[in-house]
Amino acid sequence: MTPRYFLRSCLAVITVTAFFCSFQAAFASTPENGEEALGRKLAKQAVKGSKRWSTIDHTKAEALNKDFTSGEEITGACLSCHSEAATQFHKTIHWTWLASGDKSDIRYGKAGYSVNNFCISGNAMEDKGCLKCHVSWNKKGVKGKINCLKCHNSSGLNFIEAFGDIKAFSEDNDPETNEMVKDIQQEIKQAITEVTFPTRKNCGECHFKGGGGDGVKHGDLDTSLTKPNRMLDVHMGIDGKNFSCTRCHTTVEHNIAGRIYTNPAVETRKSLIEDDLAPKITCVSCHSNEPHKNDSKMNDHTDVVSCQACHIPKYARVNPTKMWWDWTKAGKMKDGKPYVEKGPFGKPVYKSIKGEFRWEKNVIPEYFWSNGSQTSTTADDIIDPAQIVKVSHPVGDKTDPEARIFPFKIHRGKQPYDKIHKKLLAPMLSGKRGFWTTFDMNDAIEYGNKTLGIPYSGEFDYVETTYAFPITHMVAPKENALNCTECHIRENSRLASITGLYLPGRNKSNLIDTIGWLSVLGALAGVFFHGIGRFFTRNGKEN
């Protein structure tokens, strides 16, 4: 090889390398080149300068500077300035517990015909056990007055208890107890000035403990989100963005953005660039429709796959969540008394008042097409008891442009149904005639269904049901998002149940693969035998 030829070869190699490098820069921006993904850039803009400010200092508010003797009195004080608050709030689902704004439509909602497979029914607000979470004073439900402090107070003081103490103490005239009453009153006075936008604790008091305890219901909402780290929730992490719930669940006239029963949180996903007054409830609101880096194949997924599907690899990552609730086992006694049996995670696996449970932690979601709406089987809908009844299930399929493949927690269980009317039943649980007192399911059902005004035949049995919760909280940092091969793999793909679409790596055509590989094997066999032939005939050459 002459030096000149060598030089030319070098030049050629350099040219080719340079070509590939320039190409690389143009098409494949890597993390190293410091370019930020559009979705992150936009989201950072959207939450810039998040510090809230106010024109009121509640410690100086005249209306609050007095001794209160009841919760209702405090509400009166709030409303003396915030004149429209009650009118607004009375129209919201947080107050009515009905999904529809129209009060005559009581089909969907805790106060309506809706049921689940946990404590089953709210019995039209007659089951007082449920009302602990209603935003009214003293479990009075919609007949009572709004308890503003439930969502807007950060003192942590138990006002109900405090007022109970005042009432008890003020009856005797002992100067020492009088002193105590004064102290409590002072405490209340101090506490009510701690007015706040709803904190994670305020919302969490009900939403983390839905279904009767920490983490029972949702799987992606439990007390671990009160002070999460960013590994658990990249948005809420106190070592990260430190978002409160209201950062995304934005509010218009006390209506808080979010999914309710059958209705999606939003009809269409819109970014704040498309509509600056859109609620920040969807990922798209802040992160846009093309959140990943320019060149990223991931952006090609967003028309089919929800953000949550990849960015929430597992739910219940810190606290366990309930996965199974079997009412058929309820009512067993030990020594004539109801009992509780604890199992893994220190969580009850049996309660006489509720039945058998199963808890799980670090759960892989199940995936379904979802356009944000859910079907809801109420206590007034006809069911087919021969099948597993889907009490709540996502709506959508691949032909629906709003539908995405979305992660869900499916809570399974067995609950009573009417053998004659073929409807799910709504047993009353708390109170004198409730199952938790009487352990008489038939009577609890009779009483419970009466509260809803739905007739009960008198004959019940149990049916297996499922209840679907969209998994949307506990978004992991991007480095913990799913690997491609969680779905793009032949065996055990996370999306094994999503059929009717071609997933590279998961799908193949057996016929085409067979034809193709046969042709390759045929070629190999052909050249092998041809080669053998040439070897033994020595290409026809003698010697």
Binding site: A12, V16, F20, F23, Q24, F27, A28, K297, D300, D303, N483, C484, T485, H488, I489, R490, L501, Y502, P504, G505, R506, N507, K508, S509, I512, D513, I515, G516, W517, S519, V520, G522, A523, L524, G526, V527, H530, G531, G533, R534, T537, N539, G540, K541, E542
Partner: protein, 214 residues
């Protein structure tokens, strides 16, 4: 034939050789990563395989345009015009004569680099399989931007089938390189540009090694 002397002629120009090996490299790259994406095995990891496949695929597409340009400006496209003349004798040679030590019925020359069988095979590859693979690959890559052309399942299945046919070609092509005067003479021809042929073939003065060196 024993009396015939073997000489070398300069048959493949620098660009041709460069293109041949670059394309070989790219095709092998694409087959290896493509089969991983297809789910046949695990090698680079799915995401890396996809990135390599997309990058090399797009590079190939652009570079192929240069090749087509070269093909038509140099008139080399004529090398691919199919012919049935002597086609049968070539087939007969590879299926029979080669074992008998018979001479190849066709001698390569500057104006006819490919024998009739090669012409047919390369025409099929270069004019049909490769462009079809590029088109389906590009449509696959741009699937999100041009909805409704073909369902992904159809696109992917065609892309897979052609890939396996190209792999089939690769196997036979590699084997056929060993059928020259010696096992590696064809390969060395494609590396250096100088192909071995028998002296009887008419070669113009300007084509010989001696003149070229000046």
């Amino acid at each position: 034939m024993k009396d015939k002397k073997i000489i070398k002629i300069y048959l493949y120009t620098r660009y041709e050789r460069f293109w041949h090996w670059l394309q070989a490299f790219m095709i092998i790259c694409l087959v290896v990563t493509g089969l991983e994406i297809h789910g046949t095995y695990k090698l680079f990891g799915f995401q890396t395989a996809v990135n390599i496949h997309n990058f090399v695929g797009l590079s190939w597409l652009i570079l192929f345009a240069f090749f087509v340009f070269w093909l038509f400006t140099t008139g080399e496209w004529k090398q691919y015009i199919p012919t049935t003349k002597k086609l049968f004798s070539v087939i007969l040679y590879y299926s029979w004569g080669i074992f008998q030590g018979r001479p190849h019925p066709i001698q390569k020359s500057k104006g006819a680099k490919h024998n009739p069988l090669q012409r047919l095979a390369y025409l099929g590859i270069s004019a049909m399989l490769l462009p079809a693979q590029m088109v389906t690959g590009l449509l696959y890559y741009l699937y999100n931007y041009m909805p409704g052309i073909l369902p992904l399942s159809v696109l992917a299945v065609i892309h897979t089938l052609i890939a396996l046919f190209i792999l089939n070609f690769l196997v036979i092509h590699l084997y056929m390189t060993t059928t020259g005067h010696s096992l590696f003479s064809h390969i060395s021809g494609m590396i250096t540009g100088w192909e071995e042929i028998y002296e009887t073939t008419e070669i113009a003065d300007w084509e010989t090694k001696a003149t070229r060196k000046n």
